[in-house]
């Protein structure tokens, strides 16, 4: 695929002027019970990610990649250790604080996109902006611009079921960018996709990072992992190699 043309990502988020740490994890542990057993998903992970960086996390299934991503995404809380995002401690936020923090600072892309099947591509992108109380006019214009950025300018009014897997993932990426997040997280974004679609997504992520978005990607996909500037290996809940 060719890199998506059209509007620059600068239109949707400010490019940082100084390189500083945006993600900071210190000795993070995360245990959770599965049945009668306590699973130690993370066993003392420390990690720093700078603004504008592009990090991929790889490792075998069950090594704690997704748990790490969930902690960074503030949808889960550590059993111990600290997590700070954009200079703010997020490891002990209340549900309300965490929700608001995610809305304004973090963009999520999931393996299975999870677009709202009953909304059009444009409405799906508008959803986080509506939640952030952006005016209808502004969110409409911005959603259109974002869809154009991911190369779906002509398919704004299509429902997810009318789009291909690659197109749906691009709508999900546009949705993740809706509120100009400081950090974008992706969990297996190319999983279950064919090679061509995978390549399209890799190109789009490169473009996003080049345009200034900080990215953390969890993946099994070698090509996607190699596209990142930093590649972190995990095993048994620990970072084993970078």
């Amino acid at each position: 695929m060719t890199a998506p043309s059209g509007a620059s990502v600068g239109a949707v988020r400010d490019v940082p002027t100084a390189r500083a740490s945006i993600v900071s994890l210190s000795d993070v542990h995360r245990d959770y019970p599965i049945g009668a057993e306590l699973v130690h998903a993370l066993r003392g992970v420390s990690l720093e990610v700078e603004r504008g960086d592009y990090v991929s996390i790889v490792g075998p299934s069950g090594c704690g990649k997704s748990t790490l991503l969930n902690l960074v995404g503030v949808i889960d809380q550590p059993t111990s250790g600290t997590v700070a995002i954009a200079g703010k401690r997020v490891d002990a936020m209340t549900d309300r604080e965490a929700t608001s923090f995610r809305l304004h600072n973090i963009g999520f892309v999931f393996q299975r996109f999870y677009l709202m099947p009953t909304l059009s591509a444009l409405e799906n992108v508008e959803l986080p902006m509506a939640e952030a109380k952006v005016s209808a006019r502004e969110r409409n214009a911005r959603a259109a611009k974002l869809l154009e950025y991911v190369g779906l300018g002509a398919r704004q009014h299509h429902r997810p079921s009318e789009l291909s897997g690659g197109e749906q993932q691009r709508v999900a990426i546009a949705r993740a960018l809706a509120n100009r997040p400081a950090l974008m997280l992706a969990d297996e974004p190319t999983g279950e996709r064919d090679a061509k679609t995978g390549a399209e997504i890799i190109a789009l992520f490169r473009q996003l990072n080049a345009d200034g978005t900080t990215m953390i990607v969890v993946t099994h996909d070698e090509d996607l992992a190699n596209a990142a500037r930093r590649k972190i290996h995990m095993r048994d809940g620990r970072i084993v190699q970078e």
């Binding site: 949808i75 995610r102 999520f108 509506a130 939640e131």
Partner: protein, 395 residues
Amino acid sequence: MRATLAQASLIRHRARTILAVLGVAVAAAMLLDMVMLATGMRESFRELLLVRGFDIRLAPKGTLPFDTDATIPHVSAITAVLRGNPDVRDISAVLGGSLHIEADGRDVSAAVLGIDPKVQGDYELVAGRDVASADAIVVNEYLLRELGAKLGDTLTVATGFDAQTRTYAGQKKLVLTGIARFIYGAAEQSSAAVRRETLEAMEGQKRRDRASLFMVKVRQGANPDSVRKWIEGHIPNVTAISIATAIAQVDQRLSYFRQLAFILGAVSLFVGFLLVTTLVTVSVNERAGEIAVMRAIGVSRLHVVEQVIIEGIAISLAGALFGLGLGLITARYLNSILSEFPGLPMAIDFFLFQPRAAWSALGLLVASGIGAGIYPAWRAASLPIAESLRREAIA
């Protein structure tokens, strides 16, 4: 956006939504009918008793009006006593009996009331003139049809049939001057009215100066209950019945229907509630992944709950509106069944539409629909996001 999502979710499963709305509509219709039944009888009976403005009825001691053949003696003396109370405005003495009318060789029988046309409160004239003279009679349409007669006809009527001698106490020719609607007459009941003195004269000595019932109107501003007590104190051989007592007595006789209405109304409400709860729970469970993602991208818990509740409200509202129409139709049908209840005035409605009661019932149903959505919505919005996403990915 939340309304759009709720609407979209309802449209996504059209068959399911239609079924749920239908289910709530039937529950709403049943609830409305039962509210109409519980409040209707009493209200309808009250309206009926008050239709001609008489506040108190006097019946022979220990009886209800026209419940037995007993009569009250000394009408003129009682009237004089009643006139002694300045709060009494009008007095209508009524003598009841049965009448035999000859029609083409047949003997048609009818209930007859002897009244004073100036103060009577038993019928409304539909056509012709009232019983202005001693030889006039008014009949209801049912009797008119039975007789095959028309206004102006002269009828041969007899009263006081003695079964042993097979003779009548009195016979007379009366001119049919008017057609009336008898307010307290049962369906398919032949009714007629003549002047009280005409009926007394025909019935003979044993019913002279007697009445089956007195109806009393009190002056504006006077308290009917204190007048009733005064009457019972001054006239010992009568039972004075106020509107409230009469309603209480009817309430007791028809308490079965009120209780049935209450039970079925409660069951309907519960069924409506259960239907909305089930639907919303399943709908929410199905969308656990979607809800988790919405929460992950920053949609607040409250907004997720709102969206789910909007679905519940939409189903309940649509069902309630549809149920309103359905309820009115079924109420008419059920009323037509109960109107055949023996001995009840035709004008009594068992199912009476009272806007306030109806809106409160439907409001209650919609409120229960909202309540039905709250728990599943809150449960879904409170699920741990990471855990829901993981479970969804495994599924």
